[in-house]
Amino acid sequence: MGAYFFKRFLLIIPTFFGVTLLIFSMTRVLPGGPVETMLMQAQMGGDAGGGFSTQNDSGQVLSPYQIEELKAFYGLDKPIMTAYVEWLNKIVRLDFGESNRYYQPVIDMITERLPISLTFGLVSLVLGYLISIPLGIVKALKHKTTIDFITSLAVYIGYVLPTMVVAIALLTIFAFKLNWFPLGGFYPNNYGELTGTWEQIKGIFPHVVLPLAAYTAGSFAYLTMLMKNNLMDNISADYVRTAVSKGLSFNRAVLRHAVRNSIIPIASQLGGLITVFFAGNFLVELIFNIDGIGLMSYNAIVERDYPVVMGQLAITVFLTLIGNILSDVIVAFVDPRVKFGN
């Protein structure tokens, strides 16, 4: 087992190189780099980041020499491989560089938004499992009854509606019409005045409810049906009949034996849990005006803020790869049939 995981960890290295090199090259090859984007925004009278665009309000284009100078400033003048190796060299020393746009260390931009991601990621995940697994069990046990039909309706609506549609609907109904929750934002206006963790949580809570509902609605449908279908398969398995013939009641046989077997495929996805640090759907964040990781990444792509794009990507890739290994560990833990190595 140890040898197997050692091998898996070694495999992270080439995979990480592959993914990052691919994306890095794409950022260089695609037309419209950071300099061009900034110039364009400046010409259109938009406010480009920093205090650097002020001279160009007249609509004058920078001379090619100046553009070259700018490109050199952002390190875009070097060949792809040289630039990539430079980037990699910094990354392995955990130096994520500085944003092209905000002249702020990338790592600070990320850590600043971590509480938001963690809140939504963890809570929607836990909530999703807490709803889906019991609901799936009930649906399997009450297959083809009224409860099953009604919950199926809810599940399918949750499944077919894209998250942003759910988000807009929730916002319209509960924030705009009923005024139960704030319209957006993550921190309350008086957040700075709140002292103590409990007070802070209480302040954030109303801001979190609607986005959380939007996130959970998107994920619980899939998990519920997965749980139900797995359990349906296992309920009709021979070993459940054996358990009943031993004298267990049907419900206990299902809970003791079938549920345990049905959870294995779901447990295999738990490794992905580790990416909750980067949870955040930019559409939901946009709708609820939350300055989270999703929105940050989206803006970084639009603004060609490559250090942010690459920094965020590097961490996500790394966490995903670790998460895959973690999934293997979890599966080996819940399913005795899985053994790694010889």
Partner: protein, 332 residues
């Protein structure tokens, strides 16, 4: 079988059992007027082809008919002086696995793949012998696995089913079924999924355990060879009915029903000329919703006449301890 024939050592008795299944084609009669009894220390075999109702019989006795489709319409299952077919909830669960135990056809899937043998065996004691300590459960389980012919039972207890062969798993199933020293053991094709050497070993094991523990065995199979090896009495089922019932010797020597006769003469024999055609029974079992009126075997029977297709024959005594349901057994 007539009611006057009751024996004092009768352990389990099934009277006029009728089971219906609710299907898309309407309510179908899967078991019709099935009666038999199993005696202490004896083995009753139920033989018949797929779909004749053998397994449904065993499930009906255990109260394990698939819900909500299957139900007992009529008849009774007498065990220990009481009709257990009326039992529900706790009452029937106290009997299941304790006084009437069952082993199934597929040893590969009948055990939960992710629990150790110990956990699955202890469950029986947990349900039926909660007064014992865990250490006693372990000792009991080890003793029982040993009796079932499992070498090194203490080590086996810690293993998961996937580490065991099919034959070993079926031994575990037997040990689990016999853990509470049941009065009746129902075996639903326990050796069908195993190869013949393992089958022979297991049949021998069950016979010796029966001798030792004295339980009655209801043995369900489609294999006449197994019947010959293990059974004292045999009931032949066809399309949900018992059509002939007698002791194992009479069945093979003088089968009375044309169906039984067909079955027995389709057994390949070493005395036959090699490469000659095997006797077969023409046609196939009619589907339950298109059963012929009258004798259910009439459309395949070489001897059937108008009487057979109109009037259903009842089981009657053809000789001492030999029941047959056929209008024409006397003239055949």
């Amino acid at each position: 079988m007539s009611h006057s024939e009751k024996h004092s050592d009768e352990t389990l008795r099934v009277n006029n059992l009728q089971v219906n299944f609710q299907t898309d084609e309407g309510e179908l009669c899967v078991l019709n007027n099935v009666s038999f009894s199993v005696r202490k220390g004896q083995t009753l075999g139920i033989v018949g082809e797929s779909g004749c109702g053998k397994s449904v019989t065993s499930l009906a006795i255990m109260g394990l008919l698939p819900q909500p489709h299957g139900r007992i319409v009529e008849g009774e299952v007498i065990f220990d002086g009481e009709d257990i077919s009326r039992f529900q909830g706790k009452a029937i669960r106290a009997i299941r696995g304790n006084r009437i135990a069952m082993i199934f056809q597929e040893p590969m899937t009948a055990l939960s793949p992710i629990k150790t043998i110990a956990k699955q065996m202890f469950e029986v004691y947990e349900l039926h012998a909660p007064e014992l300590s865990k250490e006693q459960w372990k000792q009991e389980a080890i003793a029982m696995l040993g009796k079932a012919g499992i070498p090194d039972p203490e080590r086996i207890l810690g293993l998961y089913p996937f580490a065991l062969s099919g034959g070993m798993r079926q031994r575990v199933m037997i040990a689990m079924a016999l853990a509470c020293k049941p009065d009746v053991l129902i075996c639903d094709e326990p050796t069908t999924a195993l190869d013949v050497t393992i089958q022979a070993q297991l049949l021998e094991l069950m016979q010796s355990l029966q001798k030792e523990m004295g339980m009655a065995i209801l043995f369900i199979t489609h294999d006449l060879g197994v019947i010959a090896q293990i059974c004292d009495e045999v009931a032949v089922m066809y399309a949900g009915e018992i059509i002939e019932q007698t002791d194992v010797y009479s069945l093979f020597e003088s089968p009375r029903h044309p169906y039984t006769h067909g079955l027995v003469s389709s057994i390949p024999s070493l005395r036959n000329t090699p490469k000659t055609k095997l006797n077969i029974i023409e046609g196939q079992v009619p589907a339950l919703h298109e059963m012929p009126s009258g004798c259910r075997f009439s459309n395949r029977c070489p001897h059937s006449d108008d009487n057979c297709t109109q009037r259903a024959p009842q089981l009657e005594s053809a000789a001492t301890n030999h029941l047959v349901a056929c209008h024409k057994y006397k003239v055949l």
